[in-house]
């Protein structure tokens, strides 16, 4: 198989996604909340999150159609088998197992976090091994040394809230709705990051963002109710920028320390928070200072998607890693 065609499926949390990779190159990538305009019995429904059972067939069909691939062309079927929600994982994994069995092709189980780590291989230029990878999303914050293909060393992780969760919840505290992360990013661009010195919790390579969230809460609660509204009217952008700077500082400091300790020449930032403007700017500066190459996937491949699952599976298959059809969902799967 010099040019294998793979179908990848991702259903670990909110979105149902499918993608096709041929010869390691992405041919299609469909994410239910972004790309599906399928009609169900003549109506275009408002697509609910986690409705994997209803979405899996149309999403897979759309991914195959956009890739101009027939089921019989597939050389393997891949799916996320953890970590994630048990019921959600089961839908994608069971579908993949049945499809692989029916087509008599191998099944490739993929760890969702590995998918994020290898999302920098979807579009060139790919990093060289070893590289440092910061996974920052709504559900995960992990710093990983990727020593070689599928050999990882977890350097640090969050002890409470994920970075993306801190953004989204502080957005709520500031009246920006949920999730408030993108709104904070937008407002912070007009604000002064040195307006207020929110605490930075540094725990070696581990992270903690719960205290930062609480410190924003205390900061706002210290003001009388009538003053708070007027204060935020004037300084909302400054508070957003100051809070965001605290998160960015902690993440970038950990990356800098890890770069010094490991001496690697490539660094990757993946997961939904990698789209944050201030984090990207600070990471670009860090890479320039340290003389390393920075890799950040396109935002399409930063959020949960199946392209990263299919590409990861391509490399697993090339290394001879397939999974038995007895593979079960592993909600607490570690890296």
């Amino acid at each position: 198989m010099t040019h294998p065609v793979l179908l990848g499926i991702e259903s670990s949390c909110d979105d149902t996604a499918a993608a096709v990779v041929a010869g390691g190159r992405l041919r299609s990538s469909v994410v239910s909340s972004q790309d599906v305009h399928e009609t169900f019995g003549g109506v275009v429904p408002e697509l609910a999150s986690r409705d994997h059972q209803r979405l899996i067939v149309p999403v897979v069909q759309q991914a195959l159609a956009e890739a101009e691939v027939a089921p019989g062309d597939l050389d393997a079927v891949a799916a996320t088998y953890g970590p994630g929600l048990a019921g959600a994982l089961l839908v994608g994994l069971s579908f993949a197992k049945a499809y692989a069995f029916g087509l008599d092709v191998p099944l490739v189980g993929v760890n969702h976090l590995e998918g994020h780590i290898y999302s920098v291989f979807i579009e060139p230029p790919a990093p060289a091994f070893p590289y440092l990878c910061l996974v920052v999303s709504g559900g995960h914050t992990q710093l990983v040394l990727v020593e070689d293909g599928f050999q990882h060393h977890l350097l640090g992780t969050t002890r409470d809230d994920a970075a993306g969760e801190a953004f989204d919840k502080v957005g709520t505290l500031l009246g920006l709705g949920y999730p408030g992360g993108p709104a904070i990013d937008r407002l912070a661009q007009e604000g002064d990051p040195s307006f207020h010195d929110f605490p930075r919790t540094r725990l070696g390579y581990d992270f903690s963002f719960s205290g930062l969230k609480t410190s924003v809460l205390y900061y706002l609660n210290e003001m009388p109710d009538d003053e708070r509204a007027a204060f935020l009217q004037e300084h909302l952008a400054d508070v957003c920028a100051s809070f965001q700077q605290a998160i960015v500082d902690v993440l970038i400091d950990a990356l800098r320390n890890a770069l010094h300790e490991t001496g690697v020449a490539h660094v990757a930032i993946v997961g939904g928070v990698s789209a944050n403007t201030a984090l990207r700017a600070a990471a670009t500066d860090l890479a320039d200072e340290e003389g390393v190459t920075l890799h950040i996937p396109h935002p399409r491949y930063s959020v949960d998607n199946a392209a990263m699952i299919a590409v990861t599976a391509h490399h697993k298959l090339a290394a001879g890693h397939t999974s038995p059809l007895t593979l079960t969902a592993a909600p607490s799967l570690a890296l």
Binding site: S49, R50, L85, D161, L217, N221
Partner: protein
């Protein structure tokens, strides 16, 4: 508010109402409650953002043998499953639940009515589906770093 529901969990009367002034103290209180719980119990927590719900559960789960680095907020991921010394622990966060029907898709009944210990943050969002015998706790900001934790 008087609840017409009764929990079959009997927390020591000395435990609640409690007041804490640090995340460490909130975790320590969770650890003390852990000693009174059994597999199959459901503990439902309510309280505003930053009230200490995750810290309370962190202390509770650590006391039941879960490695501390595993116990993180499930707000985005909705459910975390841990393996405690007495069996499985389900850490559920209903913050992002918009429709009660979503709980059926999550397999909520398997968690809440199963053999494991079930700990639920933002429980008021799924009120009607909570088991009648759940222990309901409310965490309230009292100003500054003070928080009250009480049965509600």
């Amino acid at each position: 508010m008087q609840s017409n529901r009764t929990s079959d969990i009997e927390p020591p009367t000395s435990l609640f109402p409690a007041e804490t002034t640090s995340p460490e103290a909130t975790r320590a209180l969770g650890a003390r409650l852990a000693a009174t719980l059994a597999p199959g119990d459901v503990v439902a927590l309510d309280g505003d953002l930053g009230a200490g719900k995750t810290q309370f559960i962190k202390g509770l789960c650590e006391a039941l043998g879960v490695p501390p680095e595993q116990i993180t907020s499930p707000t985005f991921t909705l459910v975390h499953e841990y393996e405690g010394t007495d069996g499985p622990i389900y850490h559920i966060d209903a913050y992002r639940i918009e429709r009660i029907e979503e709980l059926y898709e999550l397999g909520f009944e398997d968690y809440a009515y199963g053999d494991g210990l079930c700990l639920i943050e933002w429980a008021e969002r799924i009120g009607p589906l909570l088991p009648d015998d759940a222990l309901r706790l409310c965490l309230t900001h009292l100003g500054g770093t003070r928080r009250q934790i009480d049965v509600c």
